[in-house]
């Protein structure tokens, strides 16, 4: 499904990713762990198509489609979803209107019928119930006045509504209490299946107790320096990144 080969990327001329290769087959959830500055967020932004991230070498494909040649909205239509580390606020934009616009944009591009307001509300309410979100979050402006936890919940609602093929969670667990952490895990776990895969980027092993990954990769200085099963996360938690570095 997702295939990254020898990816090099720079920000403002400074190389951040230095030959990163990674393959996530359909149906699998992988985790990337790594110290600050190792390139975790850069990887997520490069995949989502944010401006200012220059790919100098390598490739990234989703289901064989060249992600790097697409506009951000085309990537979303192709099935890419990024759960942001710091979700942006949109004063003046209602959450329900935003979600329905996004959902219908993707449905339209995929040749599916648009959802009317009633269908949409029914679906949103069902998803929100599962996520334990108060319904008034739909009426508020996107992320405006939301607590850190509410913003992450809202990201998970978008994930659950847009049902992408491939999701990147960029340190979604940072700053979350245990309940919110479980909610994030429940959302991802509920989507798990043969046609969904995800990349969970995290500092800590904590989230991976709830989303048990198929593979764990360690990112250091813009490259994957070690890969292993879920037990690798526990090893990192115990010994820290320094030990990995010397081992690599």
């Amino acid at each position: 499904m997702l295939k990254i080969e020898n990816l090099h990327a720079s920000v403002e001329g400074k190389p951040i990713l230095n030959g990163l290769s990674l393959e996530i087959p359909s149906g699998e959830v992988h985790a990337i762990m790594g110290p600050n500055g190792s390139g975790k967020s850069t990887l997520s932004y490069v995949l989502a198509g944010r401006e200012g991230y220059e790919v100098t070498e390598g490739s990234a494909t989703l289901d064989g489609h060249d992600l790097l040649a697409m506009e951000p909205e085309e990537r979303a239509v192709a099935g890419m979803f990024l759960a942001f580390q710091g979700p942006v606020e949109l004063p003046g934009v209602g959450n329900a209107a935003f979600l329905r616009t996004a959902l219908n944009a993707i449905r339209r591009a995929r040749g599916e019928g648009e959802m009317d307001a009633m269908q949409f509300l029914k679906m949103a309410r069902a998803r929100m119930k599962v996520l334990n979100m108060p319904e008034d979050m739909l009426k508020r402006n996107v992320n405006v006045g939301f607590s850190g936890g509410e913003k992450k919940r809202n990201e998970m609602l978008q994930l659950a509504m847009l049902t992408p093929r491939f999701a990147v969670l960029d340190e979604t667990d940072s700053g979350l209490d245990i309940d919110a952490l479980k909610m994030v895990a429940d959302t991802v776990n509920s989507l798990r299946g043969p046609s969904f895969s995800a990349l969970v980027i995290t500092h800590y092993q904590r989230l991976l107790n709830h989303i048990v990954p198929d593979r764990v990769h360690v990112l250091q200085a813009g490259r994957i320096v070690r890969s292993g099963g879920p037990e690798l996360a526990q090893e990192l938690e115990a010994s820290g990144y320094g030990a990995i570095q010397s081992a690599a």
Partner: protein
């Protein structure tokens, strides 16, 4: 210099000389005196240039160098207009002249009529507020006005919704018209006026209305104005409003049409606890110039004023906001707020913003602010990352920018009309927001 072929102030003065005996109210001594006074004021001032402080950012060269003709009466066939939802009546003016055949003002719970028809009865009222010695366009209007809408809502009457429609016709004469509207609400009366100004896309014309508004104690006027003139039109509007104790003047103006538009308002709060809400949106596309200039006079204690203006600029366009708040010594406990914000969607667009506070009372709360910005790339990326095309994402963010000003409109009819107008304008731009 003769009127034909002459330009600018000389042409308007020439026209006045030629028409003075035929203008409405001619040979009625007070009307003649009023026009003479306006003509003298206009002769003394001429059309303002950018050397005049109040016109520093708005160039009237298109008026002073243009050649304008007389509107022709009976030119057009009656045109179908969609009925307004919830409106009790409609007054239609074509090229500045009242058209009874297109209007319905007979079944209103108050008096509404053509100014031209009622002119003999308007001594001491018409011209009571317009400051012709200070505002040359009001002087021009006073010299040449032919018609306008007269509205009188008696004390205690809830007048409902009245539409005031101005239509410019397709004409190669480039007509100039100067309607004078008079709106008066008695004590405790209320009225919503939804005013629209339209014209054909390619027609050249000058629409120079002056509106005089008097609100007695406790009266409330919601005044929604949708300026959607044709692209080659010029709209120079001046409003004078006086609000007595406990009265509320609630104005919302959309400046979206015309190649050159000025929305100038002089509002005086004359009794305790009077209030003015003045909000507006300027949508300025390539080649357009839109100016909102407000002067708010706090002349009594315990009054509140709220102003929020938002300007969106596309292509090579220019926007202006000038807002003056005068708080007189007597106006203790004044609560004044003014905010104007501009969103520049093009590197070639320009906004000039001049807030001005003049405060002589010592116990007041007065704040003002101004911001100029572009669309936030992070917000744009977020929307696009959710599958929303760039053009649509831009439109969503621009609409969000306007929301605060639109939401400030309390009257549901005005808000609905405004939302439709904004959406329509947006559609005409083909969401070309780059």
């Amino acid at each position: 210099m003769t009127a034909m072929g002459a330009t600018g102030a000389a042409a308007f003065l020439g026209r006045f000389e030629g028409l003075r005996t035929r203008l409405p109210g001619a040979r009625t001594p007070w009307v003649d005196a009023l026009r003479e006074r306006a003509a003298a004021a206009f002769r003394a001032q001429g059309l303002p240039t950018r050397r005049v402080e109040a016109w520093k950012y708005t160039d009237l060269a298109a008026v002073s160098q243009g050649v304008f003709g007389e509107p022709l009466t009976g030119l057009d066939d009656a045109m179908p207009l969609p009925p307004a939802e919830g409106a009790a009546g409609r007054a239609v003016f074509v090229d500045g002249r009242f058209r009874a055949d297109l209007s319905s003002i007979d079944a209103l719970p108050f008096a509404a009529a053509s100014v031209a028809a009622e002119l003999p009865l308007l001594e001491g009222r018409l011209g009571a507020l317009a400051a012709v010695e200070e505002q040359p366009l009001a002087a021009l209007n006073g010299m040449l006005f032919e018609d306008g809408l007269l509205v009188d809502v008696p004390a205690g009457v809830a007048g409902g919704v009245l539409e005031l429609v101005s239509i410019a016709t397709e004409s190669d004469r480039a007509p100039a018209f100067h309607p004078r509207h008079l709106i008066r609400l008695g004590a405790g009366a209320s009225l919503t006026v939804i005013e629209t100004a339209n014209g054909p896309a390619g027609a050249r014309y000058l629409h120079n209305p002056v509106t005089e508004i008097e609100l007695a104690a406790g009266a409330r006027l919601s005044h929604g104005r949708l300026q959607m003139e044709g692209w080659e039109g010029i709209n120079l509007s001046t409003i004078y409003a006086r609000v007595a104790e406990g009265g509320i003047y609630d104005n919302f103006t959309l400046n979206a049409g015309a190649r050159l538009a000025r929305n100038e308002m002089h509002v005086a709060l004359l009794g305790p606890k009077a209030a003015a809400h003045m909000n507006g949106v300027q949508l300025v596309a390539d080649g357009q110039h839109a100016d909102t200039t407000t002067a708010l006079d706090h002349a009594a204690p315990d009054c509140a004023s709220r102003q929020t203006y938002k300007t969106v600029l596309l292509g090579r366009s220019r926007g202006v906001f000038q807002g003056k708040i005068l708080v007189r010594q007597v106006a203790q406990k004044t609560d004044g707020y003014q905010m104007n914000q501009a969103l520049l969607l093009s590197p070639e667009a320009e906004i000039d913003s001049k807030p001005q506070l003049e405060i002589y009372a010592d116990d007041v709360k007065c704040s003002h602010g101004a911001t100029v910005g572009e669309l936030d790339p992070e917000q744009l990326f977020f929307l696009r990352s959710r599958g929303i095309r760039e053009a649509e994402a831009r439109a969503i963010l621009v609409e969000a920018f306007l929301t605060e000003a639109v939401d400030a409109v309390e009257d549901a009819h005005v808000r609905a009309a405004l939302s439709r107008a904004v959406t329509g304008w947006w559609g005409r731009q083909g969401i070309k927001v780059a």
